[in-house]
């Protein structure tokens, strides 16, 4: 294993597992600053996790194995996804490969586990949130797969490591395909991270919740796992945005050096949109994601036209 490969592996593991909570923490911190508040420190999510980890969980009456296993399945599938998403173009295989479509499947599995737990406990708010999440997920997943398809076509493979290499430099940007894929992926990032205008992560109103709804029935370590999974989702989609869909260097050392900078900038962008943009009507969210899918389809068409 070369030196950069070792650094890439370390960055991937430490970043995806341990530093992921810092990303939503940074967004919250800057959001508060942008709103003229002092706000919590960026380390607040760690404090939350420590607090929750120290608490015992209370099970819902009548809850069975689905409810019990859901947090572990949700967090576990995201953890595998962390192993799968490389941070640079020479990251070694960590035993799960690098296939982009597997990533889409893992994200869906995590979502399914949470929705299934809501189904089992049949709490009204949890089910409402889960059903809204599933409705929107149909469009998010389509947009995600199509956006990944654009990058895969440009790079000529669905292997994420080679996609990073294939979309690097300026040659990949000679046509409009990757730009359209990036546009689609931007909207996927917003939806996957549960941020405005698709969802409001700060809401306390049960009636408006999407991602928060199914979490209402969890406490203690279960909730800690789910919160970590939500933070790790930030890591996954922001790393993909930085290393595949945004212009990046071909040299893995430069990729690694710039990654923290790009992640921080992207968190700032999320904080800015969440301050300036209101949450959209829930029935318009599929339309927004439909635009993402359409942009990705256009990207595919653009690539086909270019290729012929």
């Amino acid at each position: 294993m070369s030196g950069t490969a070792a650094v890439a592996t370390a960055a991937q593991l430490v970043g995806g597992i341990a530093l992921a909570p810092l990303l939503p923490g940074l967004v919250q911190h800057w959001k508060a600053r942008l709103q003229g508040r002092r706000g919590p420190t960026p380390l607040q999510p760690y404090r939350e996790l420590r607090r929750l980890w120290g608490k015992s969980a209370v099970d819902v009456e009548g809850a069975g194995i689905v409810y019990r296993l859901a947090p572990s399945v949700a967090a576990g599938s995201i953890a595998v996804a962390v192993l799968l998403v490389p941070v640079a173009s020479d990251a070694p295989d960590l035993g799960v490969g690098h296939d982009a479509l597997v990533l889409a499947g893992l994200l869906a599995l995590s979502r399914f586990a949470v929705a299934a737990s809501s189904w089992e406990v049949a709490n009204g708010f949890a089910l409402m949130g889960a059903s809204r999440d599933m409705t929107i997920a149909v469009f998010v997943e389509a947009a995600l797969v199509l956006a990944l398809a654009v990058a895969a076509l440009v790079a000529g493979t669905t292997d994420l490591v080679q996609m990073i290499a294939g979309t690097a430099g300026s040659a990949a940007w000679s046509g409009p395909a990757l730009a359209l894929g990036a546009l689609a992926f931007t909207l996927v990032v917003v939806a996957e991270t549960g941020r405005q205008p698709v969802d409001n992560p700060d809401t306390h109103l049960e009636l408006t919740m999407i991602h928060e709804g199914p979490l209402l029935e969890y406490a203690g370590r279960d909730l800690a796992q789910l919160q970590w999974a939500a933070a790790a989702r930030h890591w996954l989609v922001l790393v993909l945005a930085a290393q595949v869909f945004l212009p990046h260097a071909a040299d893995p050392r430069v990729q690694l050096a710039l990654l923290p900078v790009v992640l921080v900038v992207l968190c700032g962008a999320l904080a800015l949109t969440e301050t300036l943009v209101a949450k959209m009507r829930i029935l318009l969210a599929p339309r927004l994601l439909g635009i993402a899918a359409l942009a990705a389809l256009l990207g595919i068409v653009a690539w086909l036209v270019e290729a012929t």
């Binding site: 959001k31 809401t203 109103l205 049960e206 009636l207 300036l276 209101a278 959209m280 009507r281 829930i282």
Partner: protein, 465 residues
């Protein structure tokens, strides 16, 4: 006040309504022996039509004035008066009865209930909302309030009229001046006191200061309801400035104790009014700037139209009052017919598109905020001195006061024995408008309800008393 028999009462109310009067309130008195209905003439005079109950039964008004629905249910729960023809007479204040008594039965495929409250996951007053929904679509909303029913009206009985002001003033922090003023006007009418122009000026000033912070707060609440942090912060900061101004002028951020029966103790020297003028102008400028920016926030504007609609007809039927009625294009405002206050030449403004939806109600608030500041600034032209009401008019044992609060017409009826309260009834703008909120929710999406609710921004405490 005219005391009728059952037949004459219905006839009197029907003919008043035919004359263009609006139903303004109904309450039981004398331990349930009498029921008073208040009707507001378009020229601002108030008619009280009363009926003596027979075997604790009075004829209902809900068929001719649906706005009497809550009032009759309250009179039944608190005074045991039955209303002949009011079927089903659901409980309002009485929480002991089973669910089936107060909810509307709902049958059909896929209809289910979503229940929220009375304890909410935020700093929100106590109210229980039972949504009947199919998917995310609301079929019907049963709201159960009165968790904050403190029996203030009953507690005030037997106290002097002056002490009664404290009970009424504490009904609600957000409407302390409006409620207190309606009470003071009712007492003064009963005592035969007249308001000199200086008293009218001091009271109008307080009422408009209350409206200013209240409307600023409500605009912030709508921004918060759609997650628009920038708008929420700007207007929340302005709300805070307005409350600090209140504290500077009266010693209380919510203007508590500013209104007393028979006079005003508000004492502001030239320096204080000058500072207040400047600050109020600055608040108005900042609010106008913030409002203009909200016009250009597409994501915000996109949330507002066509939800929570209360049309003109609904306003007339449900007895909606205040900004919510005006947002539907119904030009009713007690301020335009308030001879006891300093509103000479006041004309209420209506939004360009009076659609009665969330957008129109928000726009109405912005219009009224601007107008309130315009009304308040000239009142700060010179020092304000303590002043007493002057005797001169005829006395009576019953008095009525009607004041436009930030949420709508607030009625207070006072009955007295010498200087002791025999009965006091406070019917606030919030009380009048709660049924409209439940109505407006119908056919909308569940996730839009918090926004619809915030576009009315009614008080719970004011309604519960």
């Amino acid at each position: 006040m005219t005391l009728h028999d059952a037949r004459g009462y219905r006839d009197a109310v029907e003919s008043a309504l035919a004359d263009g009067c609006r139903f303004a309130g109904l309450h039981a008195s004398a331990g349930g022996a009498v029921v008073h209905a208040a009707l507001l003439d378009p020229d601002g005079t108030m008619r009280l039509e009363s009926v003596r109950t027979e075997e604790s039964t009075a004829p209902t008004l809900v068929d001719v004035a649906p706005a009497a629905n809550w009032d009759e249910r309250e009179a039944h729960d608190l005074y045991g008066v039955r209303f002949d023809g009011h079927e089903p007479l659901r409980p309002l204040v009485d929480h002991d009865l089973a669910l089936s008594h107060w909810t509307v039965p709902m049958r059909g495929d896929d209809a289910y209930q979503v229940v929220v409250g009375p304890i909410h996951a935020g700093v929100i007053e106590s109210g229980h909302f039972r949504f009947h929904v199919v998917g995310d679509r609301i079929l019907h909303l049963d709201a159960r309030l009165f968790y904050k029913h403190r029996g203030l009206e009953r507690a005030a009985e037997g106290h002097t009229l002056a002490e009664g002001a404290r009970y009424v003033g504490r009904a609600c922090a957000a409407c302390s001046v409006a409620n207190g003023l309606a009470y003071a006007h009712a007492c003064e009418e009963s005592l035969g006191l007249e308001s000199p122009s200086e008293l009218a000026r001091a009271r109008t000033l307080l009422l408009e200061l209350e409206r200013v912070w209240s409307h600023l707060n409500d605009i912030a609440a709508v921004c918060a309801g759609v997650g628009l942090a920038a708008g929420n912060n700007l207007f929340a900061a302005l709300t805070e400035r307005a409350r600090r101004l209140n504290a500077d002028l009266t010693g209380h951020r919510f203007l508590f104790g500013g209104v007393a029966v028979g006079g005003s103790s508000l004492d502001l020297d030239a320096h204080a009014v000058g500072d207040a003028r400047e600050e109020l102008e600055a608040i108005g400028r900042e609010a106008a700037r913030g409002w203009r920016e909200l016009q250009f926030s597409a994501s915000f504007q996109d949330r507002l139209p066509n939800i929570g609609v209360v049309s003109r007809d609904d306003v007339d039927r449900l007895g909606t009052v205040g900004p919510s009625a005006r947002a539907a294009g119904v030009a009713i405002d007690v301020r335009s017919v308030s001879p006891l206050l300093d509103y000479a030449g006041f004309e209420c403004r209506l939004p360009d598109r009076p659609d009665g939806d969330v957008r129109a109600r928000l726009e109405q608030r912005a219009l009224e905020l601007e107008q309130s500041i315009e009304v308040a600034l000239p009142l700060l032209d010179g020092p304000v001195r303590p002043v007493a009401a002057a005797p001169g008019a005829a006395e009576s044992t019953i008095g009525v006061g009607l004041v436009e609060s930030a949420r709508g017409a607030t009625l207070c009826v006072v009955e007295r024995d010498a200087d002791r309260l025999r009965r006091v009834r406070l019917r606030t703008g919030s009380y009048a408008n709660w049924p409209s909120v439940a109505y407006a929710a119908t056919d909308n999406l569940l996730p839009d309800f918090p926004l619809i609710n915030k576009s009315f921004e009614l008080c719970y405490a004011c309604a519960d008393r």
